[in-house]
């Protein structure tokens, strides 16, 4: 086994504003043997991305390599001139980045972009390049490679684009692949698919991988060696089995402890606060100029759910599963097409203007995107105080006082009242949104992906805040998320959705430990989790539990959520298999 890459005592400085420099990578050493996957993990700001870029010699202009050496295939990269470096990039060292939406040029066809590098580095004929690209696209399971070569990036989803990126980089058969958070922007199922493809393909070609990630579970599952970084310094190096599963170093242990873990649920069964029955929500596409008929898209399809007082019900699913639409419909931001919703015993359809006004004082929402949910022209104090506008008998001054109070409670004390949203970070803005949501003490809060736009470290703090506030004020949460790790930490009960259908509902432990519906299992399999054992060591759970047969006379309902199996013909039917645990089935065909 030969050594592909050695990084020796690498140091990188960043020119800080004005005078002086800041050391962002300090004395980091690591090496990768051929065919191995080495991971760099650390929180944001740990310098892991800069190390990856320095191997490509693509550091941003403010950063400079000030010490150490990078040896690739026996040659020192720091001594190469730009021309020699260019001949290495793409051909010998490939890279895949986090944002599949921006790493392909939208103006050029896939084929042009894939063949460009190939024809640049190797004098191959057009036909030969084309043939190789098609083989690669087939390997990443693009359905019609011929067609894909002629298509433009916009015609593909994020996951497809990332597969195409992977294909075009690996088509050059590089010795080393730098994968910088390659799946962070993607849904769980697609994430697993991409990672599996990447591992299989690099193994086949014999490419080594430098995997840069913040996701400890993913690193534990896929990598051979791990380097943990903290603020530019190496904390620990070793095998994932030894180091991550039995953490000894203080910092690694702190990282592992911060992983989402199940909090005990409050097992108290209370009355339902929200009851949803056979809810359907249709979106009407804009009518064309000539056709009078509106095209409708069903976003929620006969969903039935109850949300109990004081609990956290999590709705999980991929993007497009209708989970956000359910949340919006519950807050009367969307109209339902059929079915009924009852809030605290009162039917949505029977509400008059007064009842709606009262409903508004008792419900709230926390949005996903903290950059769009605050009015940019209002101070934080005014924004939060507005939440009290409809509370009877409150003076303006009293509202501002309470706003300041709640801002302090979410960790934004004193002068923050006078600040404007653009002065805050994403995490701080999300705290303001939470303050605004809770200031009038609502009973029911819809939290729509409240942490998915945030950095992992910040995520943890915001989740903790949500839990604290719930314990203090007794809110009921509808928690919408695609991140099963977060759901496992937050939820009392979980509902799994796919294409507008609720496929399985049950208590959190049941859904995570003994799921029934194959789609739930697929989701769980796609989300590797590190779970603490009784002896303090960790275990990598990549599932699956055994597939369980559907209740007698039925098959699991399939609307495309179980690939490879025929879709159900009959009407779907929620069958309660145990107390509170229901799964969506269809009558078996004779």
């Amino acid at each position: 086994m030969s050594r592909v890459l050695t990084i020796e005592k690498l140091s990188i400085d960043i020119r800080a504003g004005g005078a002086g420099t800041r050391r962002v990578v300090n004395d980091v050493s690591l090496s990768i043997d051929s065919g191995r996957i080495a991971a760099l993990v650390g929180e944001s700001g740990s310098g892991k991305t800069l190390i990856g870029r320095s191997v490509m010699r693509l550091l941003p202009p403010v950063a400079a390599l000030v010490g150490g050496d990078i040896v690739f295939n026996g040659a020192s990269l720091t001594k190469l001139d730009e021309t020699q470096m260019r001949s290495l990039r793409g051909r010998q060292i490939g890279a895949v980045f986090q944002e599949p939406m921006v790493s392909l040029n939208p103006a050029l066809t896939i084929g042009f972009q894939m063949m460009e590098a190939m024809r640049l580095h190797e004098r191959v004929s057009q036909a030969e390049a084309r043939r190789r690209c098609m083989t690669m696209l087939e390997k990443v399971r693009i359905v019609d490679p011929e067609e894909a070569l002629r298509a433009h990036p916009r015609q593909f989803s994020g996951g497809m684009r990332q597969r195409i990126m992977l294909a075009s980089v690996l088509a050059m058969r590089p010795r080393l692949l730098i994968a910088d958070e390659p799946t962070t922007a993607l849904d769980a199922l697609i994430r697993k698919e991409i990672m599996d493809l990447m591992v299989a393909l690099t193994r086949e070609i014999g490419t080594s991988v430098l995997l840069i990630s913040h996701d400890l579970a993913m690193v534990a599952q896929y990598s051979d060696d791990v380097t943990v970084l903290r603020q530019g310094e190496t904390v620990e190096q070793g095998s994932p089995a030894g180091m991550l599963l039995r953490p000894t170093h203080e910092y690694t242990r702190a990282l592992m402890d911060a992983l989402p873990a199940r909090a005990p649920t409050n097992g108290v069964v209370r009355a339902p606060l929200v009851e949803i029955n056979d809810l359907c929500v249709d979106f009407h596409r804009k009518r064309g100029l000539l056709s009078r008929r509106a095209a409708a898209k069903r976003a929620v399809d006969k969903a039935s759910l109850s949300i109990f007082d004081g609990e956290v019900l999590a709705v999980v699913g991929e993007s497009g599963s209708g989970k956000t639409t359910i949340g919006r419909t519950l807050l009367r931001l969307c109209d339902s097409s059929s079915g009924s919703i009852r809030f605290d015993g009162q039917d949505f359809n029977g509400m008059d203007a007064d009842a709606v006004a009262r409903f508004r004082t008792r419900t709230q929402m926390v949005f996903q995107d903290p950059f769009s949910s605050l009015d940019p022209r209002m101070t934080l104090g005014a924004a939060v105080a507005e939440g009290l506008r409809h509370v009877a008998g409150l003076e303006h001054g009293e509202r501002l006082r309470r706003a300041a109070e709640i801002l302090e409670e979410v960790g934004l004390p004193g002068a923050y009242v006078e600040r404007y949203p653009h002065e805050l970070s994403g995490g701080q803005r999300q705290r303001v949104c939470i303050a605004r949501a809770v200031v009038a003490r609502p009973r029911f809060i819809v939290a729509d992906e409240p942490v998915s736009a945030l950095d992992v470290t910040i995520q943890r703090q915001v989740l903790k805040l949500l839990t604290q506030l719930q314990e203090k004020y007794g809110f009921t949460y509808l928690f919408i998320s695609h991140d099963l790790g977060v759901v496992e930490q937050m939820a009392d009960r979980v509902a799994v959705m796919f294409r507008g259908r609720v496929l399985e509902v049950g208590p959190r432990n049941t859904i995570f430990d003994s799921p029934l519906h194959p789609y739930t299992m697929r989701l769980l399999e796609a989300t590797p989790r590190l779970v603490r054992r009784a002896d303090g060591a960790f275990e990598l759970h990549t599932f699956p539990t055994r597939r369980q047969p559907a209740p007698a006379g039925h098959g699991y309902f399939n609307n495309g959520c179980i690939p490879g199996a025929p879709e159900s013909v009959g009407a779907p039917l929620m069958i309660e298999v145990a107390a509170g645990h229901s799964v969506c089935c269809a009558r078996a065909e004779r």
Binding site: Q364, F367, Q368, S372, S373, H390, R436
Partner: protein, 278 residues
């Protein structure tokens, strides 16, 4: 500490230059109201077409009227009409545009059809038509030009409201129990302020020019009241003998337009977030 807007402006040469020129224009208009050396409409046949002198700094016109007094009092008319036009067109236009963008449906369709029809006329021809119908007078140009510039304001505001209404803070306002109208006035409209302010300065400039054009054609403020466009029109016959008749109002007009345009550019730079870090 973030910089205040005037500190940002003080560092931009075009903002400073524009500001100074606008200040000159405004003080001329102010002088036109409170004090002019002579009565701008007083006729003195003994001093017809006299060249600039100590008594008449910018000379006199064919009726013996003092030119500098007429430029100053013309400033009141020109600047006043431009300011009123800009104010009326932007405020009414912003309201119409906001309602169209926010409520949509049939009201949007009808109003936008009307606006498109208005937009199809060149604004000056449009103003000519209005003046012809309503007759010349001090307020007809304001009405004419406001109608002519209304559609561009409506379009700009409607477009930015369409973008804003799907932002989460609009939903957040609904969830707090606020009415649609409150949400529109409190959250949506203030966020369209930046483009509207920039547009308002542009309209001020266009209106200044258009008012002069109307007066030049004899459709502006009726004589003998002074206006820059009217003075320019009258000066044509005497240009070879008395060039100051054309130069004085022409220069006043140029300075004002230059000032307004420079300042408008500075405002655009200030409000456009992409320019912020330059």
């Amino acid at each position: 500490m973030t910089e205040r807007w005037w500190q940002v402006f003080a560092r931009r040469p075009n903002a400073v230059a524009g500001g100074v020129l606008i200040a000159i224009m405004l003080s001329a208009a102010l002088a036109g109201i409170v004090y002019t050396p002579y009565d701008p409409v007083a006729i003195d046949f003994h001093r017809r077409l006299s060249a600039p002198s100590m008594a008449h700094w910018l000379g006199t016109d064919e009726w013996g009227r003092d030119v500098i007094s007429r430029v100053l009092s013309g400033a009141v008319v020109s600047v006043g009409i431009a300011a009123l036009t800009s104010l009326i067109a932007t405020s009414i236009g912003a309201l119409i545009g906001a309602v169209c963008g926010f409520y949509g449906r049939w009201i949007d369709k009808i109003v936008m059809a009307v606006m498109d029809a208005l937009l199809a006329f060149p604004s000056l021809i449009m103003a000519l038509a209005v003046v012809t119908v309503f007759g010349a007078g001090p307020y007809t140009p304001v009405l004419a030009l406001s109608v002519a510039y209304l559609p561009s304001v409506v379009r700009v505001v409607r477009a930015s409201v369409l973008g804003l209404k799907h932002r989460d803070f609009v939903d957040a306002s609904t969830i707090m129990g606020n009415s649609r109208a409150f949400t529109l006035l409190r959250h949506v409209l203030p966020n369209t302020l930046a483009p509207v302010i920039v547009l308002a300065t542009s309209i001020f400039g266009w209106a200044l020019l258009a008012e002069s054009a109307l007066s030049f054609l004899g459709l502006g403020v009726p004589p003998p009241a002074a206006s820059w466009g009217g003075m320019l029109a009258d000066s044509r016959v005497y240009f070879e003998d008395a060039p100051w008749l054309a130069l004085a109002p022409g220069f006043a007009l140029s300075i004002s337009l230059l000032g307004v345009n420079l300042f408008g550019d500075a405002l655009r730079d200030y409000f456009d977030p992409r320019m912020k870090n330059l």
